[in-house]
């Protein structure tokens, strides 16, 4: 039995700390400083603040306290190095912003999900046919890169950051939200050409994995506290709707559950 409900206390979670500043506030900070060269410093300070597990230091509104912060990069990564993690954290925050409600990629810890997925069979392409010869083919023939998903992330992130350094003199994670959006659009359309990999293929994978991390069961590390499910109104795998299915138009009111129960922070082993 690979997965059971018992003995599933999260083994990769960092300390529970309140979110120090929510996304819009951070963005305002950044765009104000985007051109004066101080954004790196501000972001570094904010990240450093994340490591302090003391609610009193930054204040704590009830909403902020209700969702946990993403585990610290160094202690929690199983696949990414700090640069890769910073990129994915920043990119996914733009793809699904937290906004006022905290129900975005950051609140959902999507970066933790992607990190864990890339460290496992998916990231290694264990179930993919990975024998050559390799050719580009047509779009209808699907993925034809020699790179596993893990290798594609590593290569593409290095390339995107090189592109950002060249064109913006900063790595992606330290640019303003508006700049990041523009770059993501460029990757999506293929207008930005990366050195080693097709930008569109990488963007497609990043977006797919971001949605997965936002909406998969929280035991995989994302959708923390059911952020994604709460946003859309999915109650989780509730199993039995015999009494409700013919109650047409009525909201379903029972609390959200995951496969490991009502605690949306418990992680599956492995």
């Amino acid at each position: 039995m690979p997965y059971r409900r018992s003995h599933m206390h999260g083994n990769l979670e960092g300390p529970e700390v309140p979110a120090p500043l929510r996304a819009p506030e951070r963005e305002a900070e950044q765009s104000a400083s985007a051109n004066d060269g101080s954004s790196v410093t501000r972001r570094s300070l904010l990240n450093a603040a994340l490591l302090i597990p003391a609610a009193g230091i930054l204040g704590c509104s009830p909403r902020a306290a209700s969702h946990s912060a993403i585990p610290d990069a160094n202690s929690a990564s199983t696949f990414f190095n700090p640069e890769e993690r910073a990129f994915v954290e920043a990119a996914t925050e733009r793809l699904i912003p937290d906004e006022e409600d905290g129900l975005g990629a950051r609140g959902a810890a999507v970066v933790v999900f992607i990190d864990r997925q890339l460290a496992g069979p998916y990231g290694r392409a264990d179930k993919w046919y990975m024998q050559g010869p390799w050719a580009n083919g047509i779009p209808g023939q699907g993925y034809q890169l020699k790179l596993t998903p893990g290798e594609l992330y590593q290569t593409a992130i290095r390339d995107v950051n090189a592109w950002c350094q060249k064109n913006h003199a900063h790595s992606f994670a330290t640019l303003s939200g508006a700049e990041q959006d523009e770059i993501l659009h460029g990757l999506e359309s293929g207008d930005i050409e990366l050195a080693d990999v097709p930008a569109k293929v990488f963007f497609t994978m990043l977006w797919k994995n971001t949605v997965e991390g936002f909406l998969a069961d929280p035991m995989y590390g994302g959708n923390r506290n059911f952020a994604g499910w709460k946003l859309v109104g999915f109650p989780g795998p509730r199993y039995n709707y015999v009494s409700e299915i013919e109650q047409y138009g009525k909201p379903y009111t029972l609390p959200t559950v995951g496969i490991l129960g009502r605690d949306g922070t418990r992680l599956r082993k492995g």
């Binding site: 039995m1 997965y3 059971r4 733009r94 793809l95 699904i96 912003p97 906004e99 129900l103 975005g104 069979p121 392409a125 264990d126 179930k127 993919w128 046919y129 990975m130 024998q131 010869p133 050719a135 083919g137 047509i138 779009p139 209808g140 023939q141 699907g142 993925y143 034809q144 959006d181 993501l184 999506e188 977006w207 971001t210 949605v211 997965e212 909406l215 998969a216 069961d217 995989y220 994604g228 499910w229 946003l231 859309v232 109104g233 999915f234 109650p235 795998p237 509730r238 199993y239 039995n240 709707y241 015999v242 299915i245 013919e246 047409y248 138009g249 009525k250 909201p251 379903y252 496969i259």
Partner: protein, 587 residues
Amino acid sequence: MANPLKPVDIVLVGFGWTGSILAEQLTGTGLNVLALERGKFRDTVPDFATTQIQDELRYAVRDGLFQDTARDTLTFRNSEDQTALPMRHLGSFLPAVGVGGAGVHWNGQLWRFLPEDFVIRSHTEQRYGKAFIPADMTIQDWGITYPELEPHYDTFDYLCGISGNAGNIQGQIQAGGNPFEGPRRRGYPLPPLKRSYPTMLFDKAAKDIGFKPFPCPAANTSAPYKNPLDVQMGACTYCGYCEWFGCGNYSKASPQTTILPVLLKRGNFSLRTGCDVTRINLDSTGKQATGVTYVDSQGRQFEQPASLVICCAFAQHNALLLLLSKIGKPYDPKTNTGVVGRNYAYQITSAVDVFLDEIMNPFMGAGALGQAIDEFNGDNFDHGPQGFVGGGYIALWTTGGRPILQHQLPGDAPKWGAGWKKAMADNYLKSASIATHGSVMSYRGSYLDLDPTYRDVYGDPLLRLTFDFHPNEIKMSGFLTDKATLIAQAMKPRSLHAKPRVGHYSIVPYQTTHNTGGCAMGADPKTSVVNKYLQSWDVHNVFVMGSSVFPQNAGYNPTGTVAALAYWSADAIKNRYLKSPGPLIQV
């Protein structure tokens, strides 16, 4: 050098629906039956337990129950002038691996084909003239008729405990059922499932237009049910995890929930899992099979002698096994001769998403909980003015609301960012989708053969698929999509989003696992691999099951016809072949 094993009477290659049906039927003769399955043993408990199975990421997104493409895949191209490349991970269709086959992860949408579907060429020529069929369209009659299959459809309906309203009992049209279906001997064993809100809105909208909607027949039990083998099923809980999952509630018909509890106890049945059959072996004349060669999960190669070999693998895999074993003449599209690999077909789907004002609770559903109209399937309407062959049903299914893959967004919703997030919040609970499910005809250029370049884990060639949608299908699908849009409009939505199928066939997005052909059945050995009893024309002690024998595809889900053909063939094997082994039809 293969290790020879003790001979058995009958060996089955693959152990999904057809393997289970054949094994149950043929063990009744007292003969020894051995099933070889490439995947693992799996059963409701523990493999599909509700404490783990309702996991969209593991099963639906990461292909938990499906074929492992690292070991076995195919190559694909749209046309002969392209170089086929490997399908490196699954997408367009999802073949199964493991005991129960795709019978574990299907939705349970259980249809019969129309009487005209089995005689499509002669019927079309008679009604519309020979010139109506495009020159490169290679459709053919099946060599079998609906009345011959009807008793076997009935057997499967009652094995599975189908929930539904009959539309035609012995020629009498029944209120509330599908008035276009062929006559059935009796009604369904169970009443329809409870109706979800979207299916009721579809029902009303379709009636307002003048169509005759009905509850889709479902292999999801609307009530507890004990089948003729005395196997007990439980009532469906509408959990919304059917397709791509196993059922943890004994409510979705599968080999595990309908046949295996009885079959696995029979002393003359045995099952070996983790066994990849790589060849059907022939004697020196090439006219008789001596058994099969397989490789077990430890990599050991064995030779299993058998008097009768029955191919029960997924559609394309049966064709691959015949090609590798050199049984039957391979199809050559240049000369239009040969048969193995010929007439590959698929289905063509489209959707119209509707966005409504009220809460639909999409997560409450079942795999075959749907409402459909059949006015535009088969030859239920006059094709003359339309200028295409074929058709399909239009249905609103509420199979579940699994959020990663089953959310709909308006066509103008942003692809990501704050706008995407808002669209998700505004629409997940208040949307539904109408599907069209259309036939695909067979063509001279749609076929399977051995790839010249790419190899599987044993060094054997991968199968190569050459396939594209043709103008006939694009036109037909557009016609269905327009009709679906009419119903969508009549549902009075806030907005709707029609998603017609256009352009070339792509192996990337999931469409349907209704792949057919490659081992077509028929009356003429020049255009078919097996005769009407599914017996190889070339090697009389080899039979081929599954949708691989469909000469072209119809506008319905194939499992009902696959199962009925398996019972039909089992009947011929039991009552005729075993008494006097040899060709059941002489030409």
